[in-house]
Each structure stands twice: as structure tokens, then as C-alpha cells.
């Protein structure tokens, strides 16, 4: 389809601004000479353009979205309604604290709820996304060691199954990443961990359940070992949906954690944000917390040894409104019930697929599981990518591909708790039909998708000859 610039006709446009009711004045400085090539388009044409774009996108309401590690659950409408209230959207961030008591009460209420869910003692809402939360968490760890004059600790231990953001965040926090191997059960190898712990260990970053969807059964020992070596334990909350209300990260030895409100607490993902990655911390880390906070309607204060600010103001406030609405709705019964149904749905799918598609680790999974298509790829020359693309023709968003890195030809499936048994059964049928095709007509699978607006795209060309904007 055409780009919006290709629909632009000089002289067309929309009348948004009124005539100036005071004398027109511009600063007496050099002004812009070039004209910005922005679209000139009527409201009707523009509406159609974006509706056409919307039809070429796939949201949760367009169909099943089992994208592993991303928790693509239903996004409740009430959340959006609450976040669009003028009493929230029209607040200037630098209004006097006494004029935003409701907003700060909401933030404090959300902090309290998240503390209860995670077992932490405080939460900062400064981070705008999950990776930003990781960076924030590591700055807590860095501040802690530095405050004790412990300057030798420059290593962060990360399992080889970790999200790429973990090592990237460690680098941003000035740390060297030390990668440890997973054992044959997909969990942290205790001997490998012990071998790397020492006076240089600043901390461990761990996702639990981990990225293969398994709850690490040695978790108590792992966090104990890290603490004994003088390090702190960081919990990557990407998979919190599996355990909320069932296991609390603080109770299993974690000191600092980030949560993804756009995953676990169902504020939508927006096609790649805005998210919110609040960071929970134990009491001994409270003096380092970033940002300004107003508690009980009082003036804004900053923690005594605060390491700064992660965003310009208080983080993504409207996302917090949605998460708070969601927690009020679910309540103490709904939160663990969501986790349990998420785990049930994942195990149901795993059990119904594993005879055809080998599971990377054949055991009870949590909210997601990973298929390993290595054998299929070797024998039938059909890759995980091909199967993913074949699912597109069923109207199903493919699972996460080629992650975690410790599983070859991986497909990571996370159904979430908001899907019905019928939807799971339909997806299972699709997977099984694709398997039949792999065996009977593998070349047809490799030629998928056929029904999408575009076919497979040339990513190599995009990277070799980058075109990052429209050429006028």
C-alpha cells in the first residue's frame, strides 16, 4: 500500500489552529529555511490510511497470540477508560503536590499492591519499560556496593538462558557479564554458579520461572550462595505472570526486581510500548531509590542517597493507572487464579503437542514451554521459522522464535490465562496439521505464509542497503 507521503497533495490539509489573536512575533534569530515534508492530507483520507494500516496489524483481539516471554493476554477495556479520565490526562507533572493528591494516592496504592505481590518493601515507578527496570535494578546494586566501599565487585552473573536485555543492562550499569551454563534440566548449574562466585561478584540476574518456562527447583540454594559470596540477587520479572500470588520473589531470596506492567498487569503493549518497568527493592536498598515521591499527599522528597532519575518525571503514569485498575479488578483471588490458569493452559498445550514436536525439557512447565525443532530441521529441512510462518496462514501469531539461545530451533509458546480451551484446541490442531505437512509436503511449509499482506521479506537487503525513511 501507499505511504502517507504518497497520498499527499500540496494545498490539502486540515484546519486545526485558529487565527492568531495577538500580534504575530517570532524570535529574531535565524529561522528554518527548509520546508518539512509533512503530509498534506484530508481527515477522511488520513482516517482511511490508518484504518488500512490497522488491518495490516495483528493485535490480541485479532487472534491467538502465544508469543513466549511476552504475556500477550487480554487487555481490559476498563483499564483504557480509566487512563483516559481528564483527572489524570490533564495533570501537569509540575503541578503543586497538593493539587495531585489522587494521582499520588494511586501511585502509593499501586506500590503497596506490588509490594504485597512481590514481597518487596518499596517500588520505584521511574523505569519506562522492562529493560529500563533492569538497568535501574542494577544501579541499586551498584549503589549498595559503592556505599559500602566495596569497589572490587564488577561482575554480574547471568545464565546462558537469559534475555538479551540482561547482559546489555549489565553493560549499561558498568558491569562485566559472566555467563554461567544451564544444566541438562534447563536450570542453573549449581557447580558452574559456585565456580564463578567470588569477591568480584556484584550480583546475579535471574528469571524464575526461567526462559524455558521452568521453575528453578534450587532457587533457595542459588540465592543463598550468591548472598554468601557478598552479591545481591536480581529478579527479572518478565515471567512473573506464572507465579503471582503463588511465589513471591522476596521470599525466595531476591533483593531487587523489575516487573513489566505491560505484560503481567495487562496494560497493553501498544505495538512496542509504552510499557512500565517498576523496580521493587528490599528495605536496605531504599536509601538509593531514584526519583521524587510524594507520600500521603505531602511535598515531593527524594531518598537520602538516591542515585538519580531514570526518566524526566515520575515514569509512565497512565500505564500505572491501568495496572492499578487491573489489580483492583482481580484482587487477592484473581491474581493467583490468573497465574494458575496460565500454567494450566501452557501445560495443556505442551501435553497435546509433545508427541509430534519434542519439548526442550519434558517436565511440568510454568506459563510457557519451548519446543525444540532441531530434529525436524535436520530430517525434514523445515525450520522453526518455517513453522512460525505457516502459523500465520492460520491467523495465529507465531510463538517466540530462536529463543532462548540454549535451545536450537526453538519455538517458545505462552498461551496466557485469558484464552479458552477451544482456542488452545484450534491452535493445537493447526500445529498438528502443519506437522502433517512437514512430513508430506515440506516445501509447502517453507513457502508460507501465503495469505498475509506481504510474503516473506528480505531482511538481508534491509540491513545491507538501509532505507530508514521515505525518499522524497
Amino acid at each position: 500500500m501507499k505511504l502517507i507521503f504518497e497520498k499527499s497533495i500540496p494545498g490539502r490539509g486540515q484546519q486545526i489552529f485558529p487565527a492568531c489573536d495577538v500580534p504575530e512575533v517570532l524570535p529574531k534569530v535565524e529561522l528554518r529555511k527548509s520546508v518539512a515534508h509533512l503530509p498534506e492530507i484530508s481527515e477522511n483520507e488520513m482516517g482511511r490510511h490508518y484504518t488500512a494500516l490497522a488491518k495490516r496489524a495483528h493485535g490480541v483481539n485479532d487472534g491467538f497470540y502465544p508469543l513466549g516471554s511476552c504475556t500477550m493476554k487480554h487487555n481490559p477495556r476498563i483499564n483504557e477508560k480509566m487512563a483516559s479520565l481528564p483527572g489524570f490526562t490533564k495533570l501537569h507533572p509540575l503541578q503543586p503536590a497538593c493539587s495531585v493528591k489522587g494521582a499520588n494516592e494511586l501511585i502509593t496504592g499501586l506500590e503497596k499492591a506490588l509490594c504485597e505481590i512481590t514481597g518487596m518493601d518499596g517500588v520505584t515507578f521511574q523505569p519506562a519499560a522492562g529493560a529500563h527496570g533492569e538497568f535501574t535494578g542494577l544501579l541499586f546494586i551498584k549503589s549498595y556496593h559503592e556505599s559500602r566501599g566495596d569497589h572490587e565487585r564488577n561482575e554480574i552473573i547471568v545464565p546462558d538462558s537469559a534475555h538479551g536485555t540482561n547482559p546489555a543492562s549489565a553493560t549499561m550499569a558498568g558491569y562485566k557479564t559472566v555467563e554461567i551454563k544451564s544444566n541438562d534440566k534447563g536450570m542453573v548449574d549449581i557447580e558452574s554458579l559456585k565456580a564463578h562466585l567470588g569477591p568480584k561478584t556484584a550480583g546475579l540476574m535471574l528469571t524464575n520461572p526461567n526462559t524455558v518456562g521452568l521453575f528453578d527447583e534450587n532457587i533457595m540454594e542459588i540465592t543463598k550462595l550468591v548472598h554468601e559470596a557478598g552479591g545481591l540477587c536480581y529478579y527479572d520479572g518478565a515471567n512473573l505472570n506464572a507465579v503471582m500470588g503463588v511465589v513471591r520473589p522476596a521470599d525466595i531470596g531476591f533483593d531487587v526486581i523489575h516487573m513489566n506492567l505491560h505484560k503481567t498487569f495487562s496494560t497493553p503493549h501498544g505495538g512496542g510500548g509504552p510499557g512500565s518497568g517498576p523496580c521493587g527493592y528490599k528495605a536496605f536498598l531504599a536509601p538509593f531509590a531514584p526519583g521524587l515521591v510524594s507520600r500521603d499527599g505531602g511535598e515531593y522528597t527524594r531518598a537520602e542517597k538516591s542515585f538519580g532519575n531514570m526518566t524526566g518525571f515520575y515514569g509512565n503514569f497512565l500505564v500505572m493507572v491501568k495496572a492499578y485498575t487491573y489489580i483492583l479488578t482481580l484482587g487477592k483471588e484473581g491474581i493467583p487464579a490468573a497465574a494458575k490458569n496460565a500454567v494450566l493452559n501452557a501445560n495443556y498445550m505442551q501435553e497435546k503437542l509433545k508427541d509430534l514436536y519434542p519439548v526442550a525439557y519434558d517436565t511440568t512447565c510454568m506459563h510457557e514451554f519451548v519446543l525444540c525443532l532441531e530434529e525436524i530441521h535436520k530430517n525434514d529441512k523445515v525450520s522453526a521459522l518455517d513453522v512460525a510462518k505457516a502459523l500465520l496462514d492460520y491467523g495465529i501469531h507465531p510463538p517466540t522464535m530462536y529463543f532462548p539461545l540454549i535451545v536450537h530451533e526453538a519455538l517458545m509458546i505462552e498461551p496466557t490465562e485469558t484464552e479458552t480451551k477451544e482456542t488452545l484446541d484450534e491452535a493445537i490442531t493447526a500445529f498438528r496439521e502443519i506437522y502433517e505437512q512437514i512430513k508430506n509436503a515440506p516445501e509447502a511449509v517453507c513457502a508460507c505464509p501465503q495469505t498475509t499482506p506481504v510474503l516473506r521479506l528480505d531482511e538481508v537487503k534491509a540491513a545491507r542497503e538501509p532505507v530508514l525513511k521515505y525518499q522524497f
Partner: protein, 444 residues
């Protein structure tokens, strides 16, 4: 209270269905399904939270919180967040659930709508700033500035220079990122409300490790600094030049591209986002093409599909965390895609003429307010040329701001020295401005 027959809101399966599914895959019940989790790791009993509530009850509770806040009918405060008009098209289009509920467009074949909208956004940001390329967005202006500063850190260059005339909130985030990256931040002093050029020259010349210099345009005091001169001084010292902009000012002012900036960052909030109590906002980041492979964050590129038809994909991913891990240019993953979509819709709605109009309206209203305040004794604190913000003296800022607040007007921001930083946008009518001035006259 939630009806007893429902497992929980948003969980479709009934208890019977759940039990049947559990049994079908070999588990007695949920306890059996969770038995592999060590007992000492599990929560004992219930969470200490209220019970779940019906939608009607939740609606009332959250509305109640919203109602406790004061919504000012007239706003003259900026300092990084501006009360601009949001055209009706922006909410109508951005709230389409296909945009709202999609994930990052990893599967290009069914994500062309998201990918194309971001490609269009990248184009519009490049056009607006006059820069070669723009990325798919950052968290907000301040974090975009911090990431931009870190683009130029290498073994030989690790000092970041920031003008004292830059908003301290932006500086704070740059310093926080630098605490992480182990870079040094030096503040270049200001004089008469603008960057002290002589000091900048001296500091950069004396430091072989200078990586970059960041200025704000217009600066925190509202003044449009001579960016050409600052750019020249910075480049003469073999240092990269970063401009932090208010995007709508570029409807009138010489662009960072025309000035020769290496990177342009800014707060995209004025482009169709509300005040929203500080977020979600939108980090703009545009750069000279030679830094394409150092840019943090997502980039959307054009390509073709197997039939030769045009399509779009996430590209140059070798810079990013999921490929590069600890060697990535940044850890950023989720950004502010929906806010970028809003900015794209905004810019398409107002068009080139609207951009010029809104820049002129903001400037004109601010100059009118400055002149009228001057007549009642609130004089401009600095001589420099300004666009939509300016600083005045004030005998008693608290008293004036309170008097304005009592009338539903959010006045300018009181600064540490007791002066007031005022901001105008197209939303402020002449009548609104006259009212502010009349109140000021009454107070003093």
C-alpha cells in the same frame, strides 16, 4: 465482589473445564500441577489485598481518585511538559485496538501496519529536525538525551559536557546513566541565561577525552541560543554536538540539521500527547547518517518481499540486545511505539502549514504575555531571544501563583532564585493572558 461462579475476571474457563483439562493431562488438581515448586518457596495463605471487584465498583474507585486532582482550566507552565492541543484524529486513530494491543512487530508479515506507521514516523521526525535518520522512539526526552550522550563513549572519549542552561531534570538523567556507564559529566557554566561560550571553548580544548556536548534549544530559560556558534566551537574541539529540542519550535527555528548537529534528541510530548502527569511521553532521537550503526533502539527499514513488493522490517538489529547481548549499543527493547504513532498522526494532521502556524502561535502568545507582564512590573530576567518560554522577575512568586491557582490558572514555574518561568502555547487565548496579567496587577 466477583460473582462466585466465575473463576476470576478475564479467565474464561469454568472450574469444571479447568478440572477436566487438568485431569486430561494427568493432574489431580492445581496443587498437583504446582507440586514441583518447593514448599518453602510458596506463599502461605492469601495475599493481603482486597477482594476482586466488579467493573462498576472499580470504575467508581478510580474515578474517585481522578476527581481528587485539580485540573487547571488555563495553563502557563511548561518546563518540559506542554499543554498543546491534541487533534481529535490522534485519539480516534491511536486507540484502534490493532495498534493498542499488538506486540513489537517481530513477525513482519502480519505487522506491516505497525512497521509502516513507524517508518512514516521516522521520516516525519527526520523531516522535522532536518536530520538524516531517526529511530523508532525512546522512553522520553531525558532518557533519549542520556542514550545519545553515551553513543560517543569509547576508550578515548568518556567525558560528557552539558550546558548549565539545560533543564536540570535532563541533566539528572544523563548523570544517572553516566553513573552506570562510568562516564564523567561536566556542566558548562551559563552566563545571562545562556551557555558561556568562552567557558565551553576552554573546557573542550583542555580535555582530550571530551566525547560530546549537549545543549537545549530553546534552553531551559526559554532562550534560543546561538546554536551555530556552539556547534562550531564543539566541532573545532573534535567533539560531537547534540541538540535537545522542543519539536514544535522547529516549525519556526533553524533546524539541527541546518545547524550541523551530530545527533538531535528531544521530548516528543508536544506532538499529540497530553500532559499525562509526566508520562508516557516520547523520546525523539535523530542523527547524521554516519552514526546509523551506533544509534540505540529500534529502526524500521524498507525492503521487498519474495514477490518484489515493498515491505518493512525491523532492521540493523546487530546493534541490539537480543543479538548483541553485552555488546549492544543499548539495552532498550520496548520503546514508546504507540506514542510515536500518536506523533505521526499529529504531524500528518497538522501538516507543514499547521506546523508553522502552531510555532508562530506559541511564540506570539508568549511575546504578548511577556510584554503585558512587563507593564505590571514582572520584567524579563534575560535579554536573549525566546520562543514560547521566558523568565521574569517577580517580587513574590508564591503569592502570585497562589492567586492564579485560586482562579483555576496554573501559572509559570517558580525557579530557585524566585523568578518565574512562563510558557505559552496555542491553547492560551488573549483573554486568558489578559486575565493572568490582571491578577498580577491586583496582587502587586
Amino acid at each position: 465482589m466477583i460473582k462466585e461462579e466465575i473463576v476470576a475476571t478475564y479467565i474464561p474457563n469454568t472450574r469444571e473445564e479447568q478440572l477436566a483439562m487438568l485431569n486430561e493431562i494427568g493432574y489431580k488438581d492445581f496443587d498437583d500441577l504446582f507440586k514441583h515448586i518447593p514448599a518453602d518457596a510458596k506463599v502461605k495463605g492469601e495475599l493481603n489485598l482486597p477482594s476482586g471487584k466488579s467493573e462498576l465498583e472499580v470504575d467508581a474507585i478510580v474515578q474517585g481518585l481522578a476527581n481528587k486532582n485539580v485540573v487547571f482550566r488555563s495553563i502557563f507552565r511548561g518546563a518540559g511538559a506542554y499543554n498543546h492541543y491534541v487533534p481529535a484524529t490522534v485519539d480516534a486513530i491511536a486507540n484502534k485496538e490493532e495498534f493498542l494491543t499488538a506486540y513489537t512487530p517481530y513477525q513482519a508479515e502480519i505487522s506491516q501496519g505497525i512497521l509502516q506507521s513507524i517508518f512514516e514516523y521516522q521520516t516525519m521526525v527526520a523531516e522535522l529536525t532536518g536530520m538524516d535518520i531517526a529511530n523508532a522512539s525512546m522512553y522520553d526526552g531525558a532518557s533519549a538525551a542520556a542514550e545519545a550522550c553515551n553513543m560517543f563513549k569509547d576508550r578515548k572519549h568518556s567525558t560528557i559536557y552539558v550546558s548549565d542552561a539545560v533543564d536540570k531534570r535532563i541533566l539528572k538523567v544523563i548523570e544517572t546513566y553516566s553513573f552506570g556507564r562510568n562516564t564523567k559529566v561536566c556542566v558548562v557554566p551559563s552566563k545571562d541565561g545562556v551557555t558561556d561560550k568562552a567557558a565551553l571553548k576552554e573546557m573542550l580544548e583542555a580535555d582530550a577525552e571530551s566525547a560530546c556536548f549537549l545543549m537545549q534549544y530553546p534552553n531551559f530559560n526559554g532562550i534560543v541560543e546561538n546554536a551555530d556558534e556552539l556547534c562550531q566551537i564543539t566541532h573545532d574541539a573534535d567533539t560531537k554536538f547534540i541538540m535537545y529540542v522542543q519539536p514544535l519550535a522547529l516549525g519556526a527555528l533553524k533546524t539541527p540539521g541546518e545547524i550541523g548537529a551530530d545527533v538531535c534528541v528531544g521530548e516528543g510530548q508536544p506532538l499529540g500527547l497530553g500532559l499525562e502527569f509526566g508520562g508516557p511521553y516520547l523520546g525523539l532521537l535523530a542523527a547524521n547518517a554516519k552514526f546509523m550503526r551506533q544509534i540505540p533502539g529500534r529502526l524500521i527499514g524498507e525492503t521487498v518481499d519474495s514477490k518484489g513488493d515493498r515491505g518493512f522490517v525491523l532492521t540493523l538489529q546487530a546493534r541490539e540486545q537480543h543479538i548483541r547481548r553485552e555488546k549492544a549499543s543499548s539495552n532498550i527493547c520496548s520503546n514508546e511505539a504507540l506514542c510515536a504513532l500518536r506523533a505521526g498522526i499529529y504531524l500528518a494532521t497538522i501538516g507543514p502549514k499547521g506546523l508553522k502556524d502552531v510555532a508562530t502561535l506559541c511564540s506570539s502568545k508568549a511575546h504578548y504575555l511577556a510584554e503585558e507582564l512587563g507593564k505590571v512590573g514582572l520584567k524579563l530576567a534575560y535579554d536573549g531571544e525566546f520562543w514560547n518560554e521566558f523568565v521574569t522577575t517577580c517580587p513574590d512568586a508564591d503569592k502570585l501563583l497562589k492567586a492564579l491557582g485560586d482562579k483555576g490558572i496554573l501559572g509559570g514555574l517558580k525557579l530557585e532564585d524566585g523568578n518565574i518561568l512562563w510558557a505559552c502555547t496555542e491553547m492560551n487565548t488573549k483573554a486568558d493572558i489578559d486575565e493572568v496579567v490582571a491578577i498580577a496587577k491586583e496582587v502587586f
